[in-house]
Symmetry: C2
């Protein structure tokens, strides 16, 4: 270890700040919040955006059902209270990642405006990018990637968003992407363009 | 945007892996879990270790009472169940950060062996570093940085670790640091030395 480095430290105020971490990563920590119906393509789009950002050497992470529902939120069900707590925890974890300087993406249906707005309120102004993954219900249902719509129509799943539970579309999202009309690449580029426009990531020259 | 880059992507398997992120950050994601009595110096030590790692261009984050108890875990109290859930959530969040490739430190009393072992089980072999911040109770109580021992002795705080609730020392921690005998710098270097020894971070030449 380089002792001379260590002795430069003001030990009693040894705090690495979010600005320090952002300087190291050469980016701004922020939250890209994907919302939309089941099957609208949130996770696929988040992963595509992550790959574009990663190619530009950005540090990124995607929170989705796979790593959150089976871990942090495995003790939550699908009651209204549990759904709210699910989104609350995701918002708080996203805040921690943004504070770490990471570009964090969340890919959850998050059907309620109030819950999404509460997540937004946790994050610094300009660092929360709501992406409405807008895809008509009939297209999502036809895709039925997980076979959930079929079960919901058969009544095997109660309170399924879009069928038997409401989805509240964002009123003023930073980005809207119609995944029934745009290709995945076009959709991902639309999200990146928004990040570049607001200065969250530099243009890739 | 560089269109030619985007078209190189295999869009349907567009997953950035933990290995990709670790390559970008030039480090291994891992969890450094500090445990010890209130006043033993966990947060101070975690911040000092973070500063040393940051100086070596490592991407780090510290989870502690300030950013967790007031956020993710603000709906938890101090009952046995809530304490257990508190540590469970911290373990799960630490796992997410390690999966992001970040060196994450947790600074919580975490008095129960079972809870700490459950956190360890979430993390890949060799990526969990338990640091026992070993400081005699009388020294912690004399420091009483937050005035909590005084309140605990007066009975104003119930079930206070070390006074009226147990602290279970780690049986086989990766690192033990006696903060009553070592300086903060020596303590931080002891943690770094362990990370270097096990290859989690390269030696700083």
């Amino acid at each position: 270890m380089a002792q001379q480095k260590a002795t430069n430290i003001t030990w009693h105020e040894a705090i690495v700040t979010v600005e320090d971490r952002e300087r190291l990563l050469n980016q701004k920590g922020c939250v890209i919040w994907f919302t939309g119906l089941s099957g609208s393509g949130k996770s696929t789009l988040a992963n595509a955006v992550e790959q574009l950002l990663h190619q530009q050497n950005h540090h990124t992470y995607v929170l989705d059902g796979d790593n959150v529902r089976h871990g942090l939120n495995k003790n939550l069900g699908f009651s209204p209270e549990d759904r709210e707590e699910n989104i609350r925890r995701i918002g708080e974890v996203a805040k921690l990642f943004a504070d770490a300087g990471t570009i964090v993406m969340t890919a959850f249906i998050s059907p309620y405006r109030t819950d999404r707005d509460q997540a937004r309120e946790l994050i610094a102004e300009g660092r929360f990018v709501e992406v409405f993954v807008d895809c008509p219900l009939d297209v999502c249902e036809e895709r039925d990637t997980k076979g959930l719509y079929k079960k919901a129509r058969a009544g095997e799943i109660k309170e399924f968003t879009g069928i038997s539970a409401p989805y509240e579309s964002p009123l003023d999202p930073e980005v809207t992407v119609n995944t029934a009309e745009l290709s995945l690449e076009e959709s991902a580029q639309a999200v990146i363009a928004s990040l570049v426009k607001t200065g969250l990531v530099p243009a890739d020259n």
